[in-house]
């Protein structure tokens, strides 16, 4: 999933000031799973904004809504009427959702209420961690199913580096050294010989470094 974190309330308050009719718009997929931008967080944020505005004797109305996925035009287009009825939209989706709104509503102010964090997993309730860098050419077959690009602080392909200690990464004793995890896993799988080979230099052109990416599937186009 794409993980998001709601921005600090002060930042949101500052950003939305002056837009009298403000629509707080949630996204029911990843941002809801992140407990940052689902229907429930929309309601909580709307209440907080109403109170803040009332205290500051500021006028205006806070509207609320949420869609299944802000990253898909079919869902976003359903919002035509309510968006037309407000001055600005505060999106609680990831950055992709924010941009889909900006594209579909060219004359509307669209504001981000969340910071998009990473592609990750839920470790336990309330804890998410980064696990995929979206590099465009997966190498997990060679690294025991654990990704050094997303999870090694130095993106080493031939780790662990000299800073790996007691299973932790040199940058933070709370962060696992993914290369230690890779070592342990390959050892358990009887595949340690994989780590004797030098991992070749990566072609980053399939990742962001090749320029903005797009997927076109002719077979699916209508």
């Amino acid at each position: 999933m794409i993980t998001t974190e709601q921005k600090k309330f002060e930042e949101i308050e500052q950003m939305t000031k002056g837009y009298n009719r403000l629509l707080v718009l949630g996204c029911e997929t990843c941002s809801a799973m992140s407990f940052a931008g689902g229907q429930r967080q929309v309601s909580e944020l709307a209440v907080a904004l109403r109170i803040a505005r009332k205290t500051a004797a500021q006028e205006g109305e806070i509207l609320e809504d949420a869609v299944a996925r802000q990253c898909e035009p079919e869902f976003v287009d359903l919002l035509m009427d309510i968006v037309a009825d407000c001055d600005a939209v505060l999106s609680l989706a990831c950055g992709a959702g924010v941009q889909m709104l900006a594209e579909r509503f060219p004359d509307k102010i669209i504001l981000p209420g969340c910071n998009t964090m990473f592609l990750g997993v839920t470790e336990e309730f309330g804890v998410w961690s980064e696990s995929c860098a979206g590099c465009g050419s997966c190498i997990l077959d060679k690294t025991g199913g654990l990704c050094p690009i997303a999870r090694c602080s130095k993106r080493l392909f031939n780790g662990p580096c000299g800073g790996s200690q007691n299973g932790k990464c040199e940058i933070n004793p709370n962060v696992d050294c993914v290369w230690q995890l890779i070592y342990d896993r390959l050892k358990g799988l009887n595949q340690l010989e994989k780590l004797e080979e030098i991992f070749p230099i990566k072609d980053w052109s399939s990742s962001f470094h090749g320029g903005t990416r797009k997927i076109v599937r002719e077979d699916l186009k209508l």
Partner: protein
């Protein structure tokens, strides 16, 4: 000879080599480097010029190397992959070779988080082992990573680091083997305080026959104070500082003298370990002590090759 550098010649002739670290200034003073060069030139075979060490911005390693070179002191240019992509790496190597640099030490570099620009973007386009491969390709095949030809020779003596004290311990000799396979000619290790553990690592290194394929220079740090010993024990990842050393420093009347003595004892012990071909002295902010350490360790005079 791959590079014809002084360091390479000394190691090739089977003599015990001595290198030391020479950190460039946080400013533009050529004198800061020249002073260290003057101080160390008769006692060391080559001086490592660090590359934004601990991710703190300093004068570039290449410029520091040139300043040493101009005064007849042989440098080892340290190069980290944290700050440059493959384009910058290869072009810096071309420039370094043109300026007469022959020894390069390939490193990943301390994470930018530790330095004075923690908000910097870390490059890490290739890793340190791939950097070794890159230099070998440039030297032996006269090719860029793109496959295109390089005009001219790239006579380099390629170095790499090794940390016998990092985890997982059993993998450390394997990782060294990868560096050797990638093309490392010499190794400078992390500072050794725990000699028995280092000796165990060297045993694994010898079992794989690596000591015959690469020259290993054992790293040492003279410790100046009990505070420094404690700091290294508790705060520097990848260092193994035994409690006894800290206690010894704490009990000593003259901590500096004790630090020198411990360092000399460690050098004495590692000299006896099969496969160790030299010592690399990292006297961070205490370079003045290096000549007397080299002297007292019986490593003078330095060979002329």
């Amino acid at each position: 000879m791959k590079s014809g550098s002084n360091l390479e010649k000394i190691l090739a002739s089977g003599q015990f080599a001595v290198t030391a670290e020479c950190g460039p200034p946080k400013g533009v003073s050529a004198k800061a480097i020249q002073r260290k060069g003057d101080l160390l030139k008769f006692h060391c075979d080559a001086l490592n010029v660090t590359d934004n060490q601990t991710a703190i911005v300093r004068m570039s390693s290449l410029s520091g190397c040139v300043l040493l070179q101009q005064m007849g002191v042989e440098p080892v240019m340290q190069m980290v992959v944290r700050d440059r992509n493959r384009l910058a790496i290869q072009s810096d190597i071309l420039g370094a070779v043109a300026l007469g640099i022959r020894n390069v030490l390939c490193l990943s570099g301390d994470h930018q988080k530790f330095g004075n620009h923690p908000g910097a973007k870390g490059v890490y386009d290739i890793d340190s082992i791939q950097l070794i491969q890159t230099l070998k390709l440039m030297r032996d095949e006269k090719k860029f990573l793109s496959g295109e030809d390089i005009s001219g020779e790239i006579p380099l003596f390629i170095g790499a680091a090794a940390n016998p004290f990092a985890d997982p311990f059993e993998f450390r000799a394997v990782r060294l083997a990868k560096k050797v396979k990638a093309g490392a000619d010499f190794i400078q290790t992390q500072a050794i305080f725990d000699v028995p553990k280092f000796a165990r690592w060297m045993e694994m290194v010898r079992d794989r026959g690596l000591d015959k394929k690469v020259h290993i220079l054992a790293g040492v740090i003279p410790v100046k104070s009990v505070g420094m010993a404690r700091y290294m024990k508790n705060n520097v990842s990848g260092l193994s500082v035994p409690k006894e050393l800290v206690d010894r420093m704490a009990d000593a009347k003259d901590a500096k003298e004790e630090g020198v003595n411990t360092c000399l004892e460690i050098i004495e012990q590692i000299k006896e370990i099969d496969g160790v071909h030299g010592v690399h002295i990292m006297a961070v902010a205490w370079e003045d002590i290096v000549p007397s350490i080299v002297d007292k360790a019986g490593l003078m005079p330095r060979p002329i090759v």
